[in-house]
Symmetry: C2
């Protein structure tokens, strides 16, 4: 048993799926949950995702040798604060936050140092669903998990978190927090902003009903991520402010160039842009 | 047999699928194809999608009672020009162009009037694939086809085109060309622009490889339409210039507002925007 007692702070899709996967792999002895919704925690016990729960973070973590924070980025600092003084000497902490710089800063703000046993991480997996009922043991199978340890991070703590994710079927990569936040801003945070902004903008035009009536598959695919959790994404924006805002600004410039090219019948620019996009999309994404 | 001889100008996904659907429904006696690629036309004969072909549009249409133009918008005017003088008295013409105003203008420019037997149309269906091999009889099943006749259009011609699409399993709606072009600019043309522009922009950053390496499902869905045919989309931009450029400009403004909100920690604006987007996406698209 690689983990004796796992504390899952936030038993939703991400936290619940980790619990299920480790249970399925036979790599955890006991799982305690923690969260704000008692209904969700009761459901998690009922589903066998966790063995028990406490809504007091201190109590939930005090005896755990592995702690997984699967809560919105805006809740991280309070969570660190609530576990301060309750951590066991052998406890390893990791998280699933979509931005790493802010979580690391939260840890440092609370503890006065970046805890050597804190291994910042980010599983690149998820759906638009929320809650423990949407969790499943296979969520991390063949998905990437990025770990972003810093120079202070203990290598044995990294190894334990690495092993935990391997048991879930994930492929683990290491990056610096800055590189992670820059890459994720482009691949994940910006596309979510674009989808939210598009649906928001179209909801305000006077022919909105026709828009959704005649929306075809492309529009559905394109806007699916606009059904994601608004609070989670608001937190991500704020936590990764510089990288996301810069990309949104660059994208606004790209839009102005595009509008100009369309208005001026600039066929060369349009052809070059669309062909380049198709080439890269086809090459990197294997046509799926 | 509701159609004696169907001429399909452009035997790709759209044209080939109409031919297959009408054949499967037993509603066409003979199908002649026309197109630029002899390889594609040979393949279409081999697959039984068309009975024969001519690369001369005049020859292809001269004996047809139904003509379907399934070619890029930029090729419409030449196609009208090439069929001038060869049309049978009972010939009905319709098309599959994604912009209606420009096709109607092309018809008028060539014939000096909007032909009463021309019924502008647009099947809201398609994939990112091209060529006759990607065509299939079920493409239009339960999909919408928008017809945009004008005051000059002959009602019996509209009825024949309506019946043709019904035999393909489609649901037919009528709109004015202007309304069509405005709605499609929002639901289809703008999202394609956003996806092309995003992939184009990201292909130019210095961490491009990491971007595609760590791209998850949301990014794949979001950028799928950037694999679409660049020439077709360039033509659509130009043909629906005013509506598309206006939306792209509005979207650039929306991006600037968003960037400002992120930089200023304007949590209220972000929450409102994301919640409104989620509400509308969930309500109109039934969570798929």
């Amino acid at each position: 048993m690689s983990i004796r007692k796992l504390a899952v702070i936030g038993v939703g899709l991400i936290g619940g799926s980790l619990a299920r996967a480790l249970r399925a792999a036979g790599q955890v002895d006991e799982i305690i949950g923690c969260g704000r919704s008692r209904d969700n925690l009761d459901k998690a016990v009922e589903l066998g995702v966790i063995d028990s729960y406490s809504q007091d973070i201190g109590k939930a973590v005090e005896d755990a040798d592995m702690i997984f924070l699967a809560i919105p980025l805006g809740a991280m600092r309070d969570a660190f604060d609530s576990m301060k003084g309750y951590l066991a000497g052998n406890a390893v902490i990791t998280d699933g936050g979509s931005v790493k710089g802010s979580v690391i800063a939260d840890c440092e703000a609370v503890f006065g140092e970046i805890l050597p046993n804190f291994v910042p991480g980010h599983p690149i997996a998820g759906t638009e669903k929320n809650g423990v009922e949407s969790s499943f043991a296979e969520l991390y199978q063949n998905r990437r998990v990025i770990l972003t340890p810093v120079s202070q991070t203990d290598e044995s703590a990294i190894a334990r978190v690495h092993a935990m994710w391997r048991y879930c079927g994930a492929e683990i990569n290491r990056m610096s927090p800055v590189d992670h936040d820059r890459v994720l801003a482009a691949t994940s945070h910006l596309p979510h902003m674009l989808a939210f902004a598009l649906v928001d903008m179209l909801s305000r035009v006077d022919y909105e009903e026709d828009i959704f009536k005649y929306a075809a598959g492309g529009f559905r695919d394109f806007t699916r991520i606009a059904s994601s959790n608004p609070v989670m994404w608001r937190d991500i924006c704020i936590a990764n402010k510089d990288a996301v805002a810069s990309l949104v600004e660059s994208y606004a410039d790209e839009m102005m160039d595009l509008a100009r090219a369309i208005r001026e019948d600039d066929i060369d620019t349009l052809t070059r842009m669309f062909m380049n996009a198709k080439k890269h999309r086809d090459a990197f994404i294997d046509g799926v």
